[in-house]
Amino acid sequence: MSGPEDDDAPRPGPGPEDGDVPRTGTGGDSSGGDSSGKGVAGGASGDGPAGKGGGASEPERVPAWRAVLQGLGPRGLGLKIGAPVLALLISLLITMVLLRITGADPFSSMRSMVDYGTTENSLVDIVNRATRYYLSAVAVAIGFRMALLNIGVDGQYRLAAMLSAALGGALTLPAPFGQLLVIVAAMLIGGLWAAIAGVLKVTRGVSEVLSTIMLNAIATGLIAYLLNDKRLAEVRPGSNNVATPQIPGDGRVGDLNGFLSWFGLDLPGRVYGLLPLAIVVGAVFWVVINHTRFGFDLKVSGLAPSAARASGVSARRMIVVTMVASGAVAGLIGMPELLGASYEYSLNFPAGLGFTGITVALLGRNHPVGIALAALLFAFLDQTSDVLQEVDIPKEIVGVMQGVVVLTVVIVYELVRRWEIRLQQRSVADELATGHDLAREAA
């Protein structure tokens, strides 16, 4: 053992400098990323994903699933707009082919969807639907940001809506307080219900996917138990419906139609008065993610859990806080409908929004604006599915369309993202080679 680099420790396989080179190939049989055994790599990665061998010298690339969840995408503005447009065109093409296969004329059925979807009646429904989808998707996206899969948004919002409806129906408070109380109660209930999954994960290592799915089932059972005329609900005379007592007039939120008519928009249906709430939630989400310490910690925890830990982020705390935040927003999902249209929680209350939110969040790439567009698109597709039956196409084809859109967007984004990283590495090398170097320019 002589020479300048004595070293008899087991070394990482390739020379680290080689290993540092971000791999572009697939390298299925790569001997590269072998860790040096018992290093930190193995020790502190308890909260990390099952990485590939935990290489000391292999860059920890964000795995595709994580990138997809986190809405990582291209950074350049051109690609940011180009990628979704490309994806939508591809999915439109696939949908047309699908329609053709089912024996329909793709062009005329598309046209009838657009015609129906742009009537004033439909527009109101689409906006109302999109509001619910939007809140649901933001709730999901909060978890996605740190790679937490809150599948339980569905149970969280239903339970929150039901209990806060019962509360709102039982009390009569002067104007802003009744509404505020109901909204705050819904956020609390949603947050607490989600917190169960967070605490289980932190203390017992229970996967949040499993616990939230089970909590959905429990919420369903709990609601069925409570929504009974012996407990929190009453039977509506003349029907089989069971509902919580109606929220009194002072506790309701009026529609937006009056406000909209100022701008010359006179719509036939009632637009949710809490539509602005969704916009505020989106704005707060954006500010928190991009401009606060919490948002930074959240982002880092999602992208590189072990680096986050080493930087002093407490993974346990982040998990619980994120679940609670996600659940609190989930609690809001039912509010526009409850306070603006139904005034009660009944068997007819919209269900399944939590699952739609997952797809909408994926489609919207976790970005507040992206989610808004995705929510509108989904609402449009759902709204216009009815008209397809009139031209003898099963309305379920819309579900297929939605799936196609999400898959195409997810795949196209991931491909464009990887392509862009490769491009970027090359351009950094080129720029350095041509002397464009920040460190040297200073001199």
Partner: protein
């Protein structure tokens, strides 16, 4: 045997990766029936070259000839079909299968649609005897030791018809007797007419086993077909690192009397209750660099994680700060320790030091995301963070066209300089530096040593862990040896030689 066709001839191989040329105009000829050693520093491009030969990477330029015939290798399967086999440093064996099953996995002999175990067993036994590999086909791999496993790997490659064996740092995982055995096996393989390409940076081993030696430095061959009789390990070392080798050294002592970190009786247990850090006590004064020498896996990673609060201590205390203002930080969370001025250069920069997808300024915030200039109260101060990132890029000579590029786009050395710059920001009192210069080029290495020296002069206390013994000896004021989680010796870095330190690390000798 110069008149015969060489087994492998690589000519003018060039391979570029973004930001770095891994191989430049490499020429290498390997004759049939020889043990050819390829030496070079980490990062010199040995592994890339071997991946090219094994079909895992495609060269950008140059040709590969096997038995005189130009070939294009697209996948390892192509290479195997051409009789090239690779034994990886880390074994790729299924523990729950037998040796026989492992060897034939993916190349099963079939008879009437079923695996013909009898034929496989006969062939394996025969090959095992022919090459002196002494492998028992029906033993479960999980019951085998490291040396046996390596022989199974070799057999696996031979079974697929390899005539040229690439062994990637095969001795890194072996104890000395096993190394001797391996060398015996290699000589037998050579006697049977096989060609062995042996990659290593341990020069004494290379000299003892190789028939011919080639040296690769900074991606290109600087010496080919040296005879081991005509060279010395010193000469090889010079070839490997070139003449511009910087030396790690400290100048005058800056050690003060103020203890900054005091670790007393620190013990960390594995989940099974086995101690990985066992009653370690050490103290670091301001202006002092304390080195920790040890073979990897002897508890040094766990020790620094315990000091950083990434792992909880099962016994003992960690106290921090000058006398009079001393705090027991044993149970502090990591963030509080960082805020108190403990900086950390992690062992594995990709997993623990960087968010590769994040921009440089986001990476500058990492670990300092509660401190100015990165944040103001709960708000991220993007302007402050960006401005300070530009400062680091300039002061620490991070080669990048801008601070908005993702960290993944930088080369390893520049990533490391960014980390060092970040950790030196905000007046740290204590720096935990784990392998600060591992895997980076010589220039960056010298620069990082200089930053450490400067910080030490201004009163920083440093705990240095490195696998590079020269670095440890040259950069430490005090040097401890860690073995199986215990501090077993304290050596004087002024007098100890790398050889003495190396034997103390393995527990073989006693350095005083």
């Amino acid at each position: 045997m110069p008149d015969q066709v060489p087994a492998v001839r690589l000519s003018s191989i060039t391979k570029r990766f973004p930001g770095v040329v891994a191989n430049r105009d490499v020429g290498l000829t390997i004759e049939r029936g020889e043990v050819h050693a390829l030496c070079g520093e980490n990062g010199a491009g040995k592994s890339t070259l071997m991946k090219i030969l094994y079909g895992m990477q495609r060269p950008d330029e140059g040709t590969i000839e096997i038995d005189g015939e130009p070939v294009t290798l697209r996948t390892p399967a192509d290479a195997i079909a051409r009789g090239i086999g690779m034994v990886h440093q880390h074994f790729k064996l299924a523990d729950n299968l037998t040796v026989l099953e492992n060897v034939i996995l993916g190349a099963e002999p079939r008879r009437r649609g079923r695996i013909d175990f009898a034929a496989a067993r006969a062939r394996i036994t025969e090959m095992s005897e022919q090459y002196g590999l002494r492998v028992r086909p029906d033993v479960l791999v999980e019951s085998l030791g490291v040396g046996d496993r390596q022989r199974v790997e070799i057999l696996k490659v031979l079974y697929r018809g390899a005539r040229v064996l690439i062994l990637d740092e095969p001795t890194a995982v072996l104890v000395p007797q096993e190394v001797e055995e391996l060398f015996g096996n290699l000589r037998e393989l050579r006697a049977e007419g096989l060609t062995v390409l042996f990659i290593s940076h341990k020069l004494d081993e290379v000299l003892s086993v190789a028939d011919t030696i080639s040296v690769i430095r900074r991606g290109t061959t600087v010496a080919t077909r040296l005879s081991p009789d005509a060279t010395t390990s010193r000469r090889l070392a010079e070839l490997m690192v070139g003449s511009e080798l910087p030396t790690p050294e400290l100048r005058e002592s800056t050690v003060t009397d103020d203890v900054q970190l005091d670790v007393a009786g620190l013990t960390v247990l594995t989940p099974e209750g086995r101690p990985v850090v066992d009653g370690v006590s050490l103290s670091i004064r301001r202006g002092e660099i304390v080195g920790l020498a040890g073979v990897e896996g002897n508890g040094q990673s766990e020790l620094i994680e315990a000091v950083m609060g990434l792992r909880s201590a099962d016994a003992g205390t960690v106290s921090y700060g000058p006398p009079g203002d001393r705090a027991d930080i044993t149970h502090w969370p990591t963030r509080r320790r960082r805020e108190a001025g403990i900086a950390y250069i992690p062992e594995d920069r990709h997993r623990h030091g960087l968010v590769l997808e994040g921009s440089l300024w986001e990476n500058r915030m990492l670990g300092h995301q509660t401190q100015r200039p990165n944040v103001r109260g709960p708000w991220v101060d993007r302007r402050g963070a960006r401005r300070d990132t530009t400062r680091i890029v300039r002061e620490y000579d991070v080669r990048t066209p801008g601070i908005e590029v993702p960290a993944a786009a930088l080369s390893g050395g520049n990533q490391q300089k960014l980390i060092v710059g970040r950790e030196m920001s905000g007046d740290p009192r204590l720096l935990i530096a784990a392998h600060p210069t591992r895997g980076i080029d010589v220039g960056a290495q010298a620069a990082i040593w200089e930053y450490l020296r400067r910080a030490r002069a201004s009163g920083l206390a440093v705990l240095l862990i490195s696998a590079d013994l020269e670095e440890l000896i040259g950069m430490s004021d005090t040097l401890h040896v860690i073995l199986r989680g215990r501090l077993v010796a304290r050596v004087d870095p002024g007098t100890v030689t790398p050889e003495e330190l190396g034997s103390a690390m393995t527990g073989a000798g006693t350095a005083s």
